[in-house]
Amino acid sequence: MESLSPIILTLVTFIPAAGGLLILLIPRRDRDIKLFALVVSILAFVASLHLPVHMHRELGTFKFEIDKVWITTPNIHYHMGIDGISVWLVVLTTFLTPLCVLISWTSIHERVKEFFILLLILETALIGVFTSLDLFLFYFFYEATLIPMALLIGMYGHGRKVYAAVKFFLFTMIGSMFMLAAIIWLYAKTGSFDFAIIQSAIHNGAVPGFEAASFWLFLGFFVAFAVKVPIFPLHTWLPDAHVEAPTAGSVLLAGVLLKMGTYGLIRFNVGLFPEQARRNAPWIMVLALIGIIYGALVSLVQPNMKKLIAYSSVSHLGFVVLGIFSFTTAGLNGAVFVMLAHGVATGGLFMLAGILYERRHTYEISEFGGLATTMPKYATFFLVTVLASVGLPLMSGFIGEFLVLSGAFQAKPIYGILAATGVIWSAGYLLWMYQRVFFGKVTHDVNLTLPDLNMREKVALSPIAIAALVMGVAPLIWLSAIDPAVQAALGLTQLASKVVGQ
């Protein structure tokens, strides 16, 4: 299989888009299109498994690298490669997409062809974000996620879908403009878009005028990613986008799109500007803490199930940011792990909410009650996912949050203490929601006749439940790859801190 190595990343990245283009040619028979999309997305998943299986997990460098000249002026390369951080995000993307196809099987009934084309193109763009090592290529994929996602929300969403789509588009677009300006500045001074070249140029002090500009460059990248994560107070697009998006859109939005932001923070903000990252860590950590607690409190009072899950994302992603800017091995390891665990668990919660919506066409928690008696299998899956999300030990959510908290304690005890309350809050709002929806008497007669999960839905949900369990029991499978990459990233910041004299 070694011979695959140079092209495997290209394959994984472009299989979905190629499939999407092929769908263009298929006649409009919805069943064929769905089946084809499913096959393509599973194919991409299988191909992506090659990456962790064949990855040599030694320290430092990027693996499966491919570096070809794309455009000579400006000096843009088709440069891809992954390390222990990005490899799992790629797999997370390819893991969630087939489930998205399954969950959209019946809920999308018009413009089916366009839906699956957009979904597959979105998958390619998402994978591309995690595999690009050329800043230009990265920016391209980063922007490319925007259009299919906005169209998915705007065309297939409900309620105020247009408002939500436009808001999502503009927030991200404006944020990434600042990143583009920073990227062009770096290019103007170094003559390269290559991540490694720019990194070593900055490291060796070979960039003229860098000292004066570094804060603004850091901020340019930070604003773009902070919108995506989202970090308080730039989060306001998220609840709107989530509530109005179709289920598959929500799953990918929460599961993967938000991780583009946190991934960007690790790769670029910490990777390129270690010194600035350390200097600015205090206020960023405070913002992260506000996000954790604010998100949790708002979740607590949400009458709408989907909005509740959306705000819980704000809270969980706060943990990731806190972990990253704690600059400890534990914190960063935990941050990456929370990214994955949140992708699985929250993706699962959105799928479950979507299943309920298909049956009742509402997300209002007060419309339900006592569902455990009418839909026992559904209730079981929901419970597993909720427990994974609240971070019960031996479930996926636990280990990541634990590591982040211990990292935050090392950085500053008070941060750890405050963040720990977030864990309690999250148990509060999720379990309370579970109680209101599933326990007690059936309060609305319509709910008595709700059908339980069918085969397709069970097939779609089982991988989530299994992943949530395995990640909780054997986190080392993931951490063994994450840790070397985190060590490498930290090595850079420690070097920088010695230079700064901290």
């Binding site: 922007e143 925007l146 705007g154 403009m177």
Partner: protein, 519 residues
């Protein structure tokens, strides 16, 4: 020679000819090769005029259009031929160099695509085809000449040739009052603006003693720049600023674009504009006009901001695109404030990319507008994504390019301008550009939202796209994509011609030198 200098104020061009030694040398064969595309276009234009009366007016659309198209393609081919003969012709009046070849290609290609997208339009709108196509070709002659002329008076004449054609073309929907209004408004304001340009030329002659760009450049580079040259620069900028629709000379744009026939708008928002930008590049960079920096800085900032803010509130797609073209003129002007070489190549690339995407967008709009241009409001585009997926996807692609999303030409255009500006240390202007691009995303997005996320009213007919329009749109898509995926070759060419353009004019023909020295 004192009397000669006195007369020269009255007849600068004529005198330049006399002193350039016209009596001693007749035009050579190579001279004609250097204006070959112009000759070809004129011949085909006249051919159309001759053939037109012989044909049945109701059936002549196809055949006349085909003649015009063949003419444009022949002119494209002859441009390649012309490129083999670099150098000046007709006593230093025109010069063939990479720069002028670039703009010849661009302008003629725009004309060809505009002709293609007019096939259907003229039939649907019941417009007589003869004069229409002939005027497009004659206008193109003017635009071509604008890009290769290095003599201010010839530039003025070329400007008038292209302008007069567009004035008439703008009024071609005779039965529609808006079209006549558009034409008249364009004509009145346009002649006023060209008068400014001419005034500027006169002042420049007064200040430097020549109307030849190279000679002017030599004087202006020599050190002591007379006050008059500043005034001349400002006046010429007014005239050209009007032609490229940059603020504060932009007020005519929305009304004229709204009233003019859609394919004509596609043409005149790109062709004459590209040519005017070519002139601007010559006057500002090659002639090294003094005091240009703040002039351009303010105009660029104003154009971007006013254009984008104006576009935000438009409900008519043609008006919206008019305001967007003002904004794009602003982005382009940013390049003019940058260092000459970087700025020139960025501006050249931008004109090409803008032409490809804007002509394409207008081709879609003019197909969709239907008889009498009934369907041009934003509401009419509702639900287009469902009823005509291909057309909607095409327009979306062009709008993406206008926003500046990667892998479209529009992205690299903006990218090069931005990096030229940053390399020249124009941080303020760069920030204004970035903020404006973000605002601009909103109104382009409104069209996309309309097409895909709103339900149509059903009464807006969707007709089949005829072959000619389809070809025109496909060409635009391919070019936009090409410039977005592999911009290297075009940029290299632009960089090379920019280097030629802004290098010190060491080789200046002795005759214009003597004219300078005699003063």
């Amino acid at each position: 020679m004192i009397w000669l200098t006195g007369v020269s104020h009255a007849f600068p061009a004529l005198l330049a000819q006399i002193q350039a030694g016209m009596p001693t040398s007749l035009p050579q064969g190579a001279d004609y090769m250097r204006i070959l595309p112009e000759i070809v276009l004129s011949v085909f234009g006249m051919l159309i005029m001759v053939v037109d009366p012989l044909l049945d007016p109701d059936k002549s659309h196809q055949s006349l259009g085909s003649i015009a198209l063949v003419g444009a393609l022949a002119a494209l081919a002859s441009t390649a031929w012309m490129a083999q003969y670099p150098g000046t012709a007709f006593w230093n009046m025109v010069r063939v160099e990479a720069f002028s070849v670039f703009f010849h290609f661009l302008v003629i290609a725009i004309a060809a695509v505009a002709i293609l997208s007019s096939f259907e339009y003229l039939q649907v709108q019941r417009i007589r085809a003869g004069e229409y196509y002939a005027l497009i070709l004659f206008g193109t002659v003017g635009m071509c000449l604008m890009s290769s002329a290095i003599e201010l008076v010839l530039i003025f004449i070329a400007l008038e040739i292209s302008s007069i054609s567009t004035y008439v073309l703008a009024g071609f929907r005779r039965r529609d009052a808006a079209s006549s209004e558009s034409s008249l408004k364009y004509f009145l304001l346009g002649s006023f603006a060209t008068a400014f340009f001419l005034y500027g030329v006169a002042m420049m002659f007064g200040a430097t003693g020549s109307t030849n760009v190279d000679a002017i450049s030599l004087v202006l580079r020599s050190g002591n720049v007379p006050m008059l040259a500043y005034v001349a620069t400002a006046l010429m900028f007014v005239g050209l600023g009007f032609k490229v629709a940059s603020a504060p000379f932009h007020v005519w744009t929305p009304d004229v674009y709204e009233g003019a026939p859609a394919p004509v708008v596609g043409l005149m928002s790109t062709g004459p504009k590209a040519a005017a930008f070519a002139v601007l590049l010559r006057v500002m960079f090659e002639a090294n006009a003094p005091g240009r920096f703040w002039l351009i800085w303010v105009s660029a900032a104003l154009s971007m901001t006013l254009g984008n803010l104006g576009a935000l509130v438009q409900d008519n797609v043609k008006r919206l695109l008019a305001y967007s073209s003002i904004a794009h003129a602003g982005y382009l002007l940013v390049a003019f404030a940058a260092q000459p070489e970087l700025g020139t190549s960025a501006a050249m690339f931008y004109t090409a990319a803008y032409a490809a995407m804007n002509v394409g967008a207008f081709a879609v709009v003019s197909h969709f507008a239907n008889a009498g241009e009934k369907y041009v409001s934003l509401e009419d585009y509702a639900g287009l994504g469902r009823r005509s997926p291909v057309l909607a996807a095409t327009l979306t692609f062009f709008l993406m390019s206008l926003i500046g999303i990667p892998i479209t030409g529009g992205f690299f255009a903006k990218f090069y301008v931005l990096s030229a500006a940053l390399k020249s240390g124009l941080v303020g202007l760069s920030i204004i550009l970035v903020l404006n691009s973000a605002i601009a995303a909103y109104y382009y997005l409104r069209i996309i939202v309309m097409m895909y996320m709103r339900e149509g009213r059903g009464e807006v007919p969707v007709t089949r796209v005829p072959a000619a329009t389809a070809i025109a749109i496909t060409v635009c898509i391919l070019l936009t994509l090409y410039l977005g995926v592999l911009p290297g070759r075009v940029l290299d060419f632009a960089t090379q011609s920019a280097r030629q353009l802004v290098s010190d004019p060491t080789v200046v023909s002795p005759s214009s030198l003597t004219l300078v020295l005699k003063r």
